[in-house]
């Protein structure tokens, strides 16, 4: 008998090797990527991006050690699949043939039925040692006239071979939600990813959603994406941080740039707090927000100004009116992010803000105005969730934030805060108004100042050559 220590040539049992999607955001949503040696379904109606998703994944996993196979069946002609992939940045012609092998099983399936696929699969595994297999479309095989028993046997064989061997498989298909209950491949799938396209006003919005991922946490919900030259550009749904990334008592004050206002709020806004400046059109919200931003630069704090109202030229003018030089501001850490409200896609703008904050250098942030985000959002609950998460991230990172929002009439009351959902998530609430009867008569009221004493009386202010001044 051999008295030697047993050899263990397996990967560590607790490791959970993954296959990257070739897209860092998709990997993040999937908790690191698809599990290796898994069967995955990518479902969605025609034109939702399934093929691009799969090809992006293939080209990023082509390392030359083992081939990656892309087999087309009955719905997607191979010539189209291969033809269009060349337009994307991830396409590398040198990978074709050896590393990535395309095959068309359409004729064989039409002639011999599903057996053509199981025979091909067994042969491919035995003779080519594939690392990844994509079958496009797997759903189309159900269109072959086969009985329920035959279908179950076919799925059992496909799943049997794919599970037995060290290969990761992707079954693409134009599946609907109803198909999830109907077709047995969903029961054997380790992951199900849905790509969808939904019309929103004058444009379409695309979403990726993970419906199932065995053995791993993933980020639930709809994640917006668009298709660009690099394939899918994803904007993972923002969620609030579970644990504050920086948990410290932020008692420092951030001057607002308006001495009278500083006095009203106890010396400035608390660091890491969020202030909503609400008011009617022309009440002075942008002026106050700009002064807050410029004060940040004066204090040596990097400041991001997100603007949907004025275009960059208009904003430069507004800055110049306050006595500052826009070009000089830029060299001192003033960043401007402008998006037209017409073209605004909430997911991309929120992710852009979040990425800037994540970089860790921004101390002050202004979003002028969140009403524009609300108008662009097709789903108000989604916007609310996004803003709530963003604000939690700001607080956790100590970013002091000012949001502006246009509200309805009402001289100084909270009743004017038509959208309570935005106001309750802010730490501080300031309401601006002007009088229709008395020209130039503007008022300011500190409605709420969380964790801080503040002036409760309505104040008056004016806007002059150097901005707002509390009387």
């Amino acid at each position: 008998m051999i008295k030697q220590r047993p050899r263990d040539v397996s990967p560590p049992a607790d490791s959970f090797p993954r296959i990257t999607t070739g897209n860092p955001q998709a990997d993040e949503i999937l908790g690191g990527g698809f599990p290796c040696n898994s069967i995955n379904i990518v479902m969605g109606q025609p034109g939702t991006g399934k093929t691009i998703f799969a090809e992006q994944l293939l080209f990023h996993n082509a390392t030359g050690d083992r081939p990656l196979l892309y087999v087309t069946t009955l719905s997607e002609p191979m010539s189209k699949v291969v033809g269009y992939v060349q337009r994307f940045d991830f396409f590398e012609p040198a990978r074709l043939g050896e590393d990535i092998q395309y095959e068309d099983l359409g004729a064989a399936l039409s002639e011999r039925g599903p057996t053509a696929l199981t025979d091909w699969l067994a042969d491919a595994i035995k003779t080519r040692s594939p690392k990844i297999i994509v079958i496009d479309s797997f759903r189309a095989i159900h269109d072959l006239a086969i009985t329920t028993d035959d279908t179950r046997r076919f799925i059992s064989d496909v799943a049997g071979f794919l599970s037995a061997y060290d290969v990761t498989a992707f079954l693409l298909g134009e599946y609907t939600q109803d198909d999830i209950r109907r077709f047995p491949e969903f029961a054997v799938a380790d992951a199900i990813v849905e790509l969808a396209r939904q019309p929103r006003s004058t444009r379409d919005e695309r979403f990726l959603r993970v419906l199932k991922l065995r053995g791993s946490a993933y980020r639930e919900g709809q994640h917006a994406f668009r298709i660009g030259d690099g394939g899918l550009e994803l904007y993972p749904r923002l969620v609030a941080p579970r644990i504050p990334e920086k948990y410290e008592s932020l008692t420092a004050r951030r001057p607002t740039g308006i001495p009278g206002l500083d006095k009203m709020v106890g010396g400035g806004f608390l660091a890491g707090s969020t202030t909503l400046i609400s008011g009617m059109t022309g009440a002075g919200k942008t002026t106050l927000a700009l002064q807050f931003a410029l004060e940040g630069i004066r204090q040596g704090e990097k400041t991001l100004y997100v603007n949907f109202q004025e275009n960059p030229a208009q904003l430069r003018r507004a800055i110049a009116n306050l006595g500052a030089d826009p070009d000089e501001l830029r060299t001192h850490g003033f960043q401007l992010l402008y998006a037209s409200p017409v073209e605004l896609q909430i997911d991309s703008i929120v992710v852009e803000i979040f990425e800037a904050i994540k970089a860790g250098t921004i101390s002050r942030l202004v979003i002028d105005a969140i009403g524009d985000l609300a108008a662009a959002a097709s789903d108000s609950q989604r916007l609310h969730d996004y803003l709530y998460s963003l604000i939690q991230h700001f607080a956790a990172r100590g970013v002091t934030t000012v949001l502006t929002m246009e509200s309805g009439e009402g001289l100084a009351g909270t009743a004017a805060m038509s959208d309570q959902r935005f106001s309750y998530m802010s730490d501080n609430l300031i309401y601006l108004a002007w009088s229709a009867e008395k020209v130039g008569h503007r008022t300011i009221r500190i409605v709420k100042m969380r964790g801080s004493a503040h002036e409760r009386d309505i104040g008056e202010f004016e806007i002059g050559g150097h901005g707002a001044r509390i009387k």
């Binding site: 008998m1 051999i2 008295k3 030697q4 220590r5 047993p6 050899r7 263990d8 040539v9 397996s10 990967p11 049992a13 607790d14 040696n37 067994a122 595994i125 035995k126 040692s129 064989d157 049997g160 071979f161 599970s163 037995a164 061997y165 060290d166 290969v167």
Partner: protein
């Protein structure tokens, strides 16, 4: 003697002069692939679909290696391992536990000579089999088939 092809359904396939492997596995797809890869590598492969059948075949065939899944009926792979390693007539047989379960330490306690975790990757499987056969030879149990 002419070469016989593998029989994934449980029969014997043999190659004159090659090491004999007894595979204990009930999954038909794994049997088919294991049979193919081991045969391609030059081994004679025999199959048993449960632990008791494997014990009987081990006595009859005196294989060089038993490759067993843990999850097999009647007598599980680890019990099979313990039974063989405590039987003076069979304990010389090398046992490779090849399982979907991460039971390295339990396999070691049961007396297994090697452990390999599924899924099947032909290079890993064939190399492991070759290495443990070599170890067996070095240890003085070469026989005349290796």
């Amino acid at each position: 003697m002419s070469e016989l092809r593998p029989t994934p359904d449980g029969g014997t396939s043999n190659r004159e002069g090659s090491a004999i492997i007894l595979v204990v596995e009930r999954d038909p797809h794994i049997r088919e692939l294991e049979s193919y890869f081991l045969n391609e590598a030059g081994f004679a492969v025999n199959f048993a679909s449960d632990g008791l059948d494997a014990l009987a075949r081990a006595r009859e065939l005196q294989p060089d290696i038993i490759i067993t899944e843990v999850l097999v009926p009647k007598l599980d792979g680890l019990a099979l391992c313990r039974t063989i390693k405590t039987n003076p007539e069979l304990q010389h047989i090398v046992i490779l536990v090849f399982s979907i379960l991460a039971v390295q330490s339990r396999a070691r306690e049961a007396g297994a000579d090697a452990f390999l975790m599924k899924p099947l990757a032909e290079k890993r499987l064939v190399e492991t089999v070759r290495e443990i056969l070599l170890m067996r030879k070095v240890a003085g149990h070469s026989g005349d088939r290796v």
